[in-house]
């Protein structure tokens, strides 16, 4: 496998602008004047991802992070907004036009038990992308499949085995090898380690980091676990109810989170240190995440926010805060955005 040459431009590899995805979930109103009830899964999401970089997309279930990923790889059509890969618009492509871009954008799935076809050998699973995209002979494909197995730390001799003969961690490695087969520039990782045991999780994270270095990959890393994200992502965006509420580089986000939701998320992570657990100040969020079909007015987080009452003039319940830069003066190269009325 060759390392793709990095183009010397400032253009981001992936530029997402104002991406929205709405699902119709039944209708409301009378029999004749009915309007579709919309589930706003993703609402106005924008971010850039540069070559060789890792961007984390974090949030709880139902926050729209997976839908964002699925829109980017074309598994779902965006309702509005734009997704540009190297300047080229992806949202308007037909299935046939998408085909050449498949080589550049690949995906790793969450569940290592469901993401591999149980009736195919590992060899066929890894040769499939090559069968679709290249004219290589079957023998050459098998040799490439062996090299891929090797690249993800599996024994290439196990080419003719079936997925059920591997453990969860090994299966996830096969999933990674399949994503690598087309030598993509961008891999969307949809919760790639959340279904794995802790000790295996670390192996897979290390493997992903190693492969990134080796092949100059860009990752969009979707996760609900901030601690995992911290170990692999340079930039992190936190999503809540379909919107990005805070986006910053790793150090800023973890040491100086601005949004109350980010702070609550950070404080909710259990720490494997009894002393720290006993003394630390846990922010307990009241209630549940509201339904995205019927999100609260104003700031979507205000019903659970501990700071909302402090903000004058009911701003939180009336105006939705924009995602605005914070103290950019200190780090002009790495902007910190936050959507909160809190100064």
């Amino acid at each position: 496998m060759s390392t793709p040459v990095t183009k010397a431009t400032d253009q981001p590899l992936l530029a997402v602008r104002d991406l929205s995805k709405h699902f119709e979930v039944g209708r409301s109103g009378g029999l004749f004047s009915s309007r579709p009830r919309l589930l706003r899964a993703v609402e106005g999401v924008s971010f850039d991802l540069h070559r060789g970089q890792t961007m984390g997309l974090v949030g709880e279930s139902g926050c729209g992070k997976s839908t964002t990923a699925r829109c980017i790889v074309g598994l779902q059509r965006a309702s509005s907004g734009s997704i540009r890969l190297d300047g080229e618009e992806l949202t308007t492509l037909s299935a046939r036009q998408w085909l050449p871009h498949r080589r550049r954008v690949q995906m790793i799935f969450q569940d290592p038990y469901a993401s591999l076809d149980p009736r195919q050998t590992v060899g066929s699973i890894l040769a499939e992308p090559l069968a679709i995209h290249s004219t290589e002979r079957p023998k050459a494909r098998r040799l490439r499949a062996m090299a891929l197995l090797d690249a993800v730390g599996l024994n290439p001799r196990h080419l003719n085995r079936y997925p059920h003969e591997f453990s969860g961690g090994q299966r996830q490695r096969i999933g990674i090898a399949r994503a690598l087969a087309l030598e993509p520039e961008l891999i969307i990782c949809d919760e790639p380690v959340s279904a794995l045991d802790v000790s295996i999780q670390a192996q897979v994270i290390n493997l992903l980091k190693e492969l990134q270095q080796r092949f100059n990959l860009a990752y969009l890393f979707i996760a609900h676990d901030l601690a995992v994200v911290r170990h692999i992502c340079e930039r992190v965006a936190v999503m809540y109810l379909g919107r990005i509420v805070e986006e910053a580089d790793r150090d800023t986000l973890f040491t100086n989170p601005a949004h109350p939701y980010t702070r609550a998320l950070l404080s909710a992570i259990p720490v494997p240190d009894p002393a720290a657990e006993a003394t630390r100040n846990r922010i307990l969020l009241p209630g549940d995440v509201p339904s995205p079909v019927d999100p609260p007015n104003g700031c979507p987080f205000h019903p659970r926010c501990m700071h909302a009452p402090e903000i004058p003039a009911d701003a939180c319940t009336r105006d939705r805060p924009q995602l605005l830069p914070r103290d950019t003066a200190s780090r002009p190269d790495s902007p910190h955005h936050c959507a909160c009325h809190l100064p």
Partner: protein, 334 residues
């Protein structure tokens, strides 16, 4: 005397492909009102251990053996199926990982809750309803009277888990077995549920067996921690010393591989190499030896008894031949 005393519990599943030892010689005690954390990865036997306690191991193919499982002076092994059923939900309750599948989708929450009381305590419907509403209020569910009429799918995941906990606590059990109670939940909801469980234990004095794969969860909740690997206990210790000075190489590896919010994020995470063992085909000697950095020739044969480390004050036991050396080396380094 301990509330629950399990001695030499083994569970094996006899399949035509061979015998799978899911639990192998596990012994532990649970004191009144304490929280015992049972930690292990998938396939470590932590859930099967507790199914065995509840008499819920499917047989065949499951075969449960033990010297004794004493609960409040009775040996659970000698009880009839009917007596065990009486015990379950009344004196020992259980909550599961997935609150959705543990609730009947066709019955209202109130119906399911009052059923427990009607079965075990023979209360009237009206009386049961009143107690149920109180139970829901107890686990922090707002407007409990209206919630009684709700169906499970109308509640969020966190609410469902609260209902499960309320149901488990209705009969004021002496032991609550919580099998991965927060794994299916979001972090902020997990924090709520853990807080709730700690609070309930303080108020009701229920002893809790907390089964989890998440070391962070036990660090915050448990008094003592038992670590399982491949069906055996490998290390038992009070929570504080276990986390500050883990001795068994597996515990050490597990603790080191947890991604944390402190430490250098750019360095590679330390991980335990290799794959978890196949329970149908366990290696001789220490099951962890093939993945262990410390392993020596003698680790690959013979039994691995769970033993105290000479000279250590904490009541810790470790199933490792090199425990003394490792403890001395890391204790000295600190």
């Amino acid at each position: 005397m301990a509330l629950l005393d399990v001695q030499n519990l083994s569970v094996r599943f006899d399949t035509q492909d061979g015998s799978v030892r899911a639990v192998d010689g596990v012994s532990f005690q649970l004191e009144e009102g304490e929280t015992l954390g049972l930690v292990g990865e998938s396939g470590s036997g932590k859930s099967v251990t507790n199914l065995a306690l509840m008499g819920l191991v499917p047989a065949p193919p499951g075969v449960v053996q033990a010297d004794h499982i004493n609960f409040a002076g009775r040996d659970l092994l000698t009880l009839t199926a009917e007596e065990l059923r009486q015990l379950r939900g009344n004196e020992i309750s259980m909550i599961f990982q997935d609150p959705m599948t543990s609730l009947n989708p066709l019955l209202t929450v109130g119906r399911q809750l009052s059923e427990v009381l009607e079965i075990h305590q023979g209360l009237s419907r009206r009386e049961a309803d009143r107690l149920c509403a109180a139970g829901l209020a107890d686990v922090g569910i707002p407007e409990p009277e209206t919630r009684l009429a709700a169906y499970p799918h109308e509640l969020s995941g966190g609410m469902r888990q609260r209902v499960m906990i309320a149901m488990a606590l209705l009969c004021k059990p002496r032991v609550l077995i919580a099998d991965e109670p927060t794994t299916a939940l979001d972090v902020t909801i997990q924090a709520q549920i853990l807080e709730l469980m700690t609070d309930l234990r303080e108020r009701h004095g229920t002893a809790i067996i907390l089964i989890t794969h998440d070391l962070g969860v036990v660090a915050g909740c448990a008094d003592r921690v038992h670590v399982m690997y491949a069906g055996r206990l490998v290390e038992t210790a009070p929570t504080a010393p276990l986390f500050s000075l883990p001795v068994h190489p597996y515990t050490r590896g597990l603790l080191a591989s947890v991604p944390t919010l402190t430490g250098d994020p750019t360095s590679a995470l330390s991980s335990i190499e290799g794959q978890p063992p196949d329970l149908a085909n366990l290696p001789a000697g220490c099951a962890f030896a093939p993945r262990c950095d410390y392993a020596e020739t003698r680790c690959r044969s013979g039994p691995m008894p769970l033993e105290a480390i000479p000279g250590e004050s904490a009541p810790r036991t470790v199933a490792c031949l090199l425990a003394t050396e490792i403890a001395a080396a890391s204790g000295g380094a600190r």
